[in-house]
Symmetry: C2
Subunit: 382 residues, 2 copies
């Protein structure tokens, strides 16, 4: 086995764990916290709740709210300026992947200077970041656990992957109570995002025994609980999805992802699409493309999805992929690109695929993919 690294934040998990946010900030030496969130979280009341918790501990804060879905380079740059001007010392984000990735981008620029595009790729961040506490409000992005940060470069219309160990926050707070205010659509998209993380990480060329067990656990939990979570919003099922998202993130943060995420970054940057929208369309197609490179491992996934075997490893793997596609189809999601980007979008697939092969995620895909092969995959699911 090659040398492998495994890094995760300290995790505080459970119903009501949001209440620990103030103590966490104090432990990290906070005098003035830089808060990052978005309109949805504000409206759901969670931001105010967090502000109250900080105030109770006597901690000052300043709030940056310029976050959108699929955060952009200029937002991160504005945020860093505000962080420095206000003399903040600890960053706390509460939200889904967008506020958390914005917070990470702000942390990079506040301590390392320059423009966010300077840090695209792996291990480009040299100086230590300000302490961070990330509070996830979805069970999906995994940004609260991971060393990944995805920011859209508006000039090139691409989601940049910034990957470095220092992006692992000091503390991740995962409170399943927060999921109760989420819409059905967001629960589905987030869970499918986590499922894609777990799957691609399991098949990655740098997967390790430490990441593999988390991948399989996540796949199992999402497959078992998503239907029930959507139908009942029961706290038990939402909690299981949260455990799955944390596990999936421990896996992909340390094992990397694959060609499906490379494509999702380029597609998402161009069309402003969420990962959770792209994965049901692309994931099984990319799995089929990768099958011959990872038959035994895809059979492991198949056995979980099928709850049993179906002939040889290859047959089990293929049946698993089919069943996974049926699983996606059982939710209200698109399974074809044309339904998301329309006929006028089709012309952009070629430049998008040419961009995707340079995404850091493509490096850990089990089968080397050139842009023509990626385009073929996209055409298959047109």
């Amino acid at each position: 086995m090659d040398i492998t690294k495994f890094a995760i934040p300290e995790i505080i998990f459970g119903r009501g764990s949001l209440n620990y946010a103030g103590q966490c900030a104090l432990r990290l030496g906070a005098k003035k916290v830089f808060l990052v969130s978005d309109a949805g979280i504000e409206q759901a009341g969670w931001l105010q709740r967090l502000m109250d918790i900080l105030e109770k501990e006597g901690i000052e804060w300043v709030y940056y709210h310029g976050v959108t879905s699929n955060p952009r380079d200029f937002q991160v740059e504005q945020g860093a300026e505000m962080y420095l001007k206000n003399g903040a010392d600890v960053i706390i984000a509460i939200g889904g992947g967008s506020p958390m990735d914005t917070a990470k981008g702000i942390a990079i620029l506040a301590s390392n200077g320059g423009r966010i595009r300077d840090y695209e790729g792996a291990n480009k961040v040299q100086r230590p970041l300000p302490p961070m506490v990330l509070i996830t409000t979805t069970a999906g992005s995994g940004s609260d656990i991971s060393q990944f940060c995805i920011i859209t470069d508006m000039a090139r219309k691409v989601k940049m992957s910034i990957i470095t160990r220092t992006l692992v926050p000091n503390i991740a707070i995962v409170d399943p109570l927060i999921l109760r205010t989420k819409s059905e659509t967001l629960i589905i998209q987030s869970a499918i995002d986590a499922l894609a993380h777990a799957t691609e990480a399991y098949l990655s060329v740098i997967a390790s025994p430490f990441t593999e067990m988390h991948s399989l656990k996540a796949i199992e939990l999402i497959h078992k609980n998503l239907k029930r979570a959507v139908e009942t919003k029961s706290l038990d099922s939402l909690e299981q999805l949260s455990i799955a998202a944390v596990s999936a993130s421990m896996a992909f943060s340390n094992a990397g992802l694959g060609a499906e995420h490379a494509l999702a970054h380029s597609l998402g940057g161009h069309f402003d699409l969420r990962h959770g929208v792209i994965h049901p369309i692309l994931l099984t197609a990319v799995m089929r493309f990768n099958l011959d490179s990872r038959v035994a491992k895809m059979a492991d996934i198949g056995r979980i999805i099928l709850n049993g075997t179906k002939g040889s490893d290859r047959e089990t793997a293929l049946a698993g992929i089919d069943k996974l596609q049926e699983f996606f189809a059982s939710f209200d999601v698109s399974l074809r690109f044309r339904d998301e980007i329309g006929e006028e979008g089709r012309q952009y697939l070629e430049p998008i695929c040419k961009m995707a092969i340079n995404d850091a995620c493509n490096l850990t895909n089990p089968r080397l993919a050139n842009w023509e092969e990626l385009l073929k995959i996209c055409e298959e699911v047109w």
Copy 2:
């Protein structure tokens, strides 16, 4: 599910990972490293190797070698004095549980002052510790991963459990190449120690989904690989034991242990016995004591040990415990206390059990145990 916390160090795992020690020290800001090790590691050449790696990076070091098996309070106090006198700034330990726990004790006293007994129990350490890199040379103690530190109080003749999140080192380096210089006895004792960690953590009252999967993985890997590792010393099997020890430690560090470890601390402190010697005698007896409180979970363990089921959960659990005892018996270890401490030691069992009920590990045992019950267990395996 209650609120649960999960904290582990950054882990660098794999053949040759020792070579990263210098870079790790630099990343933590080292100018003068405080090295902790013991005679066995010196003789095997690993200490010199580490010194060479540090020198190559231009890092000064000072070496503290006053470590014995089952480290003692006065050793830790001497070490802290030496750390402060020499103006060291990062602690690196290379060795088994003894040097690593000594290093942790030194870290506590160097930054928090006082005597080491002041910190016995859970969460008594207030101030941050110096940065630590722990390099394990056994696949067992898990001190490289855990928030535990076990130091013998010489006056009371007891192994004190010191448990606090800040004892999780910054970086753990796990290099299976180092295991090749270990004796057969040490490989067996270490693996059985890890197996006991995994088992007690799985049954603990504060086990969580994050710790449970690591427990089961560790039990499976040790059961599958220990025989082969002892017989062949193949690098593959030693590597599997290393993965198991890391997994077991992720579990117990966050889930705690149980009555078996509480007893092992009191017994080990009194008779200067290693954990690996005590567990084959006590573990299955304590499991039988706990059975009614954790039937389903013991059946999970049984299914791994039996590689299948045997009737009801209770029957599977019991058959698993029997099989585990056979597994221990298949190695050259004592299965009765009288073989280790002799008839003259028997009189001390009562005061030892009275001490054990106050050990922090007893608090997470699934069935509340009083000293009379612990004594009964010890008598059963006399």
